[in-house]
């Protein structure tokens, strides 16, 4: 049995890119339907931090920051390393702030900027804050019957904003300092923050417009007629096939391919052990785009996120990867590889860190820095959160503990004397306040992420037993390679021309960031901006299609 539906614009995916595209397509006169593979709305956005990196945005002055188009372009183009069409970067810089303003004027969402610096603040054109905005706490009761269809977070972050977390309450090191009455009150009232707030606000806007959302509808194939995309063929959980015809166009906004082992092996330089996204990002959009001749770019790139995995924890039935923050950036911690040696500035941004974990050794077919462990001591344990364990909690079973570094090395299976020498050398750096090997703490970014109460925010000795180790896992917020798009969010074919009727936005596309990572919200900023563009242009295409008829 095959059912058939018709719309002007069909959106595949219900994350922020897809819902933004839906809103804009509707507001530009199109009849829109959103297809979502799972039974919940929000996609990867709903489990994310919800930060949106938007240069020259209207909220920067809330924290006294100022930005210019030229500075933003300079910064973004450096990070792209010549791998991205400059016109796309220019369009992003020119449109991002317009997109945010549009959503604030036409949806219940409200944003504020954060004091977080760009991830490479020493580059020219970088800013020390203000370019990342985040949604303000959102009351999910306004979603009515859709409240239960909002994707829940994966790691139970408490409902406080990121700016509250690091700006006011030091939550990444001492989560007990958050105002627990406020967090509890929000929980009890159904108020959400972070990516859930973003997804919820966009969902409310979609519902307000009467846009149809079809849950548990997995888009599998693009329908192409006369070199033009005419719709999507999807399957329902019962195996039923449904055809969604699109007069104006199809917008692919259905995430990356990080949960697809075959595509990972085919395109990535190293496997992602366990992604941090919902386990439904199987590369459906990538496969559909490839099938109709889309050009691909950035395929070796990942939004890296080295992670902690607590044995047995799962989300949607798959192992859960948790963020590593204090366990990476803080004092009293270093990371070592199987040789017992440090290999990176532990406080660098997580995307750069992930690339170091992909390095293959020159003298053998092994990853040079995997396995890897965070090494810390009793000073760390007594001061900071470790995974979900607070200082007063008993040591969890997954935490590797020893009374001496020799014994710790033995437990990890790494040679003892290099590990002891590494720690001794590190302790020497701590005395001078300078990490001469990898520069941990040298960047303003490192220090922002460090313990601001410590003498050196990122440097502290490792000398007080017991000693601890935590296994590091390669995670990913998503992949960032896929169909190449132009600055109208149209998918480009392998022959170089746009594929008529096909648009893409978000992690399904080749990211306009190239190999780089601008700052907090570098996935959502370009993703939502491309959703904005895709919605407008697909609606216009539908309009001209009607005129032609």
């Amino acid at each position: 049995m095959k059912s058939e539906w018709e719309a002007d614009v069909v959106i595949v995916g219900s994350g922020a890119a897809g819902l933004t595209a839906a809103i804009l397509a509707h507001d530009n006169g199109a009849r829109v339907i959103v297809l979502e593979r799972t039974s919940k709305v929000g996609g990867t956005t709903a489990v994310s931090g919800g930060g949106i990196w938007i240069p020259v945005n209207g909220h920067m002055d809330e924290h006294g920051y100022h930005d210019t188009r030229e500075e933003a372009l300079q910064y973004c183009k450096q990070l792209a390393m010549g791998r991205v069409d400059p016109a796309c970067i220019e369009t992003f810089v020119d449109t991002g702030a317009i997109m945010i303003r549009y959503l604030e004027e036409r949806t219940p969402l409200r944003f504020r900027s954060m004091t977080a610096p760009d991830y490479q603040p020493e580059l020219s054109g970088a800013k020390l804050g203000g370019r990342s905005v985040e949604p303000q706490p959102f009351d999910t009761n306004v979603l009515g019957e859709w409240q239960s269809r909002l994707r829940p977070p994966n790691a139970f972050a408490f409902p406080i904003t990121r700016q509250e977390a690091f700006g006011q309450y030091d939550a990444f090191y001492r989560p007990w300092l958050i105002p627990q009455d406020l967090a509890a009150d929000r929980m009890l009232k159904g108020i959400v923050t972070l990516g859930q707030a973003l997804a919820a606000g966009l969902l409310r806007a979609v519902l307000d417009r009467g846009i149809a959302i079809s849950l548990e509808t997995r888009a599998r194939k693009l329908a192409m007629e006369n070199e033009r995309i005419r719709g999507v063929i999807a399957t329902k959980p019962n195996g039923e096939e449904a055809v969604y015809r699109a007069r104006g166009g199809v917008v692919l906004a259905c995430a990356g391919f990080e949960w697809n082992a075959r595509l990972q092996a085919q395109f990535l330089p190293a496997p992602i052990e366990n992604p941090n996204s919902p386990p439904f990002n199987d590369g459906d959009g990538l496969l559909m785009a490839m099938e109709v001749g889309a050009d691909l770019a950035n395929m070796d790139c990942v939004w890296h996120y080295p992670s902690l995995m607590i044995p047995g924890e799962t989300y949607e039935g798959k192992p859960l990867s948790r963020a590593l923050l204090a366990e990476r950036n803080g004092p009293h911690v270093i990371w070592v590889n199987a040789a017992g040696k440090r290999f990176v500035n532990e406080a660098c941004n997580y995307n750069s860190m992930g690339r170091v974990l992909q390095e293959i050794a020159t003298d053998g077919p092994v990853f040079k820095n995997l396995p890897a462990w965070a090494i810390m001591d009793a000073q760390y344990r007594s001061k900071y959160v470790l995974g979900t364990t607070m200082p007063e909690d008993p040591d969890p079973e997954w935490l590797i503990k020893a009374d001496s570094l020799d014994e710790l090395a033995h437990r990890l299976g790494v040679p003892a004397s290099p590990l002891c020498e590494t720690v001794q050398r590190w302790n020497g750096f701590v005395k001078t306040g300078m990490d001469d090997d990898f520069g941990k703490g040298a960047s303003r970014y490192d220090r922002f992420q460090g313990d601001r109460e410590a003498t050196f925010p990122n440097l502290g000795s490792i000398e007080k037993p017991p000693f601890y180790a935590v296994s590091i896992h390669t995670g990913a917020l998503g992949t960032k390679g896929g169909p190449r798009t132009n600055n109208r969010a149209q998918v480009i074919s392998v022959r170089g021309a746009p594929i008529s009727g096909l648009y893409a936005a978000g992690n399904v596309t080749a990211s306009i960031t190239g190999p780089g990572y601008y700052g907090r919200g570098a996935t959502l900023g370009p993703g939502m901006t491309w959703g904005y563009l895709a919605g407008i242009h697909a609606a216009k295409e539908a309009q001209s299609s009607r005129t032609d008829q």
């Binding site: 999910t140 409240q147 239960s148 829940p152 994966n154 790691a155 139970f156 408490f158 989560p175 007990w176 958050i178 627990q180 009455d181 967090a183 509890a184 929980m187 009890l188 009232k189 159904g190 607590i310 044995p311 047995g312 924890e313 799962t314 989300y315 949607e316 039935g317 859960l320 364990t389 607070m390 200082p391 007063e392 909690d393 008993p394 040591d395 969890p396 079973e397």
Partner: protein, 178 residues
């Protein structure tokens, strides 16, 4: 401390129910998210349970210590999470009823530590769900409700309102356990 109570009427007679209650592993098996249990002695055992909160799940280990056996009438016990910041107490009491055995359960949990306020909010709905599912499972294994046509119908009655009749504060929080 947050607490809850359940009351179920089961078909099995008092002697059968008491025989069941005397073996601590029998209770463990009926816990939602049961993974395994290790009996250290007749009074003491460690239970590994997967705690579910919506699509999120996490294993916890709880030490269950019977502090008083009441022959033919039930047992009182304590709970201590080995790696999580909570402890608690509970009781099972049984009494002969016209068409079977009336089984009452009480379960109370106190979240401790520096994050106790927010974790208590999360724990409330979990406790209610655990009590609901435990009492339903217990009813099934003890022959079902005498009022039911078959043993599939085993809804425990909540002494404190339970999940469906939670107080307004708990009701508001229920979206957390989707």
């Amino acid at each position: 401390m947050i607490s809850t109570e359940r009351e179920i009427l089961v078909r099995s007679d008092l002697a059968t129910v008491w025989e069941f209650v005397q073996i601590i592993g029998n209770w463990a098996n009926q816990m939602p998210g049961y993974v395994s249990h290790k009996e250290l002695d007749p009074d003491q055992s460690d239970w590994t349970l997967n705690v579910q909160m919506g699509p999120f799940s996490r294993p916890i280990v709880v030490k269950v210590q019977v502090i008083q056996w009441k022959p033919g009438r039930g047992a009182d016990f304590t709970l201590d999470a080995l790696f999580e910041p909570f402890h608690g107490e509970g009781s099972i009491s049984i009494e002969k009823a016209p068409r079977g055995t009336l089984t009452k359960m009480h379960l109370g949990v106190e979240v401790t530590g520096s994050m106790s306020k927010v974790l208590t909010v999360l724990a409330g709905p979990v406790l209610q769900r655990v009590a609901d599912e435990f009492s339903t499972n217990l009813c099934h294994v003890l022959g079902g409700s005498p009022d039911a046509i078959d043993t599939a119908s085993c809804q425990g009655e909540s002494g404190d309102g339970g999940a469906e009749h939670a107080n307004p504060v708990e009701k508001k929080a229920q979206w957390w356990r989707r």
